[in-house]
C-alpha cells in the first residue's frame, strides 16, 4: 500500500486495552476504538515522551514529534 512504516492492526483492541487507551463506543456503530496517543520509545524500549491529547481532533504534529526526539537524543 506504499507505506514506508509498519501499520499494525489491533483488531480486538488487546494492545489498546493493555496501554489503557480504549475509547469505549467512540467508533463507527459504537465500536470500542483507540483514543489518539503518541509515544516516543528509545532504543532500550523505555518511553521517553508521551502525547495524550485532551481533544480527539488534536494530534501530535510531525514537527512536535521530531522536536521531542531531537531534544532527547543526546541524553
Amino acid at each position: 500500500m506504499g507505506f514506508t512504516y509498519p501499520l499494525l492492526s489491533d483488531a480486538d483492541a488487546g494492545v489498546i486495552r493493555r496501554y489503557d487507551l480504549l475509547h469505549r463506543g467512540a467508533g463507527p456503530k459504537g465500536a470500542d476504538i483507540a483514543r489518539p496517543a503518541e509515544f516516543l520509545i528509545d532504543s532500550q524500549g523505555i518511553i521517553r515522551w508521551v502525547n495524550s491529547t485532551d481533544n480527539i481532533a488534536v494530534r501530535a504534529r510531525p514537527e512536535q514529534v521530531l522536536a521531542a526526539f531531537n531534544e532527547r537524543r543526546g541524553d
Binding site: 500500500m1 507505506f3 509498519p6 501499520l7 499494525l8 492492526s9 489491533d10 488487546g14 494492545v15 489498546i16 493493555r18 496501554y19 489503557d20 487507551l21 480504549l22 475509547h23 469505549r24 467512540a26 467508533g27 476504538i33 483507540a34 483514543r35 489518539p36 496517543a37 503518541e38 509515544f39 516516543l40 520509545i41 528509545d42 532504543s43 524500549g45 523505555i46 518511553i47 521517553r48 515522551w49 508521551v50 495524550s52 491529547t53 485532551d54 481533544n55 480527539i56 481532533a57 488534536v58 494530534r59 501530535a60 504534529r61 514529534v65 526526539f69 537524543r73
Partner: protein, 152 residues
C-alpha cells in the same frame, strides 16, 4: 421610498433583506465546512475558520434583523429573519457542543504507560499480515508508536 403606502396591507414591493440570506448562508457554510477544514491541522486544532464564518454570518443576520425591525416599511424579514436567526443559533449551538464538548470527551487513560516506563511488549500483524513485535521495530534511534483512528 414611498412604496409602502397604501391601505395597511403588506406591500410586496419592499426591499429584499439580503443581509439575512447572506448571514444564514454563512452560518450554514460555517457548519458544513467543518469536514473540509478538519483536513488541515491549522484549521482543525482550533476551528477558527468555522468560527469566523459563524461570526461574519452573525453580523449579517444582526444587521438584517435591525433593518427588518427598525424600518419594516422598507425591508422584509421580520418573520423569516427571526426564523433564520433562531435556526442559526441552533446550528451554532450544535457546532459548539460538538467541537468544544464532544471532541474533548477523551478517556483519562490513567493507567497508560508513562515516561520512564518500559513500553509494554506486543506482537500484531502489519499491513501485509506479517506478525510484528514492538521490539523488532525499535531501531538504534528508538521508535515512535502512534495509536490513531479515523482517516487523519
Amino acid at each position: 421610498m414611498d412604496l409602502a403606502v397604501g391601505d395597511g396591507k403588506i406591500d410586496m414591493k419592499r426591499n429584499w433583506n439580503w443581509s439575512l440570506w447572506i448571514g444564514f448562508f454563512l452560518t450554514l457554510a460555517g457548519f458544513f465546512s467543518y469536514q473540509f477544514f478538519a483536513q488541515f491541522p491549522v484549521t482543525r486544532d482550533f476551528p477558527w475558520a468555522n468560527l469566523l464564518l459563524f461570526a461574519v454570518g452573525a453580523i449579517f443576520l444582526l444587521a438584517g434583523l435591525v433593518r427588518a425591525f427598525v424600518r419594516p416599511q422598507l425591508y422584509r424579514g421580520k418573520v423569516f429573519g427571526s426564523i433564520f436567526a433562531l435556526l442559526s443559533l441552533f446550528i451554532f449551538g450544535f457546532f459548539a457542543y460538538g467541537v468544544f464538548y464532544v471532541l474533548r470527551q477523551v478517556p483519562a487513560s490513567l493507567s497508560a504507560p508513562r515516561i520512564g516506563e518500559k513500553a509494554p511488549a506486543f506482537t500484531l500483524p502489519d499491513q501485509n499480515g506479517k506478525p510484528t513485535a514492538l521490539m523488532d521495530l525499535i531501531s538504534p534511534n528508538g521508535a515512535i508508536l502512534i495509536f490513531y483512528r479515523g482517516h487523519w
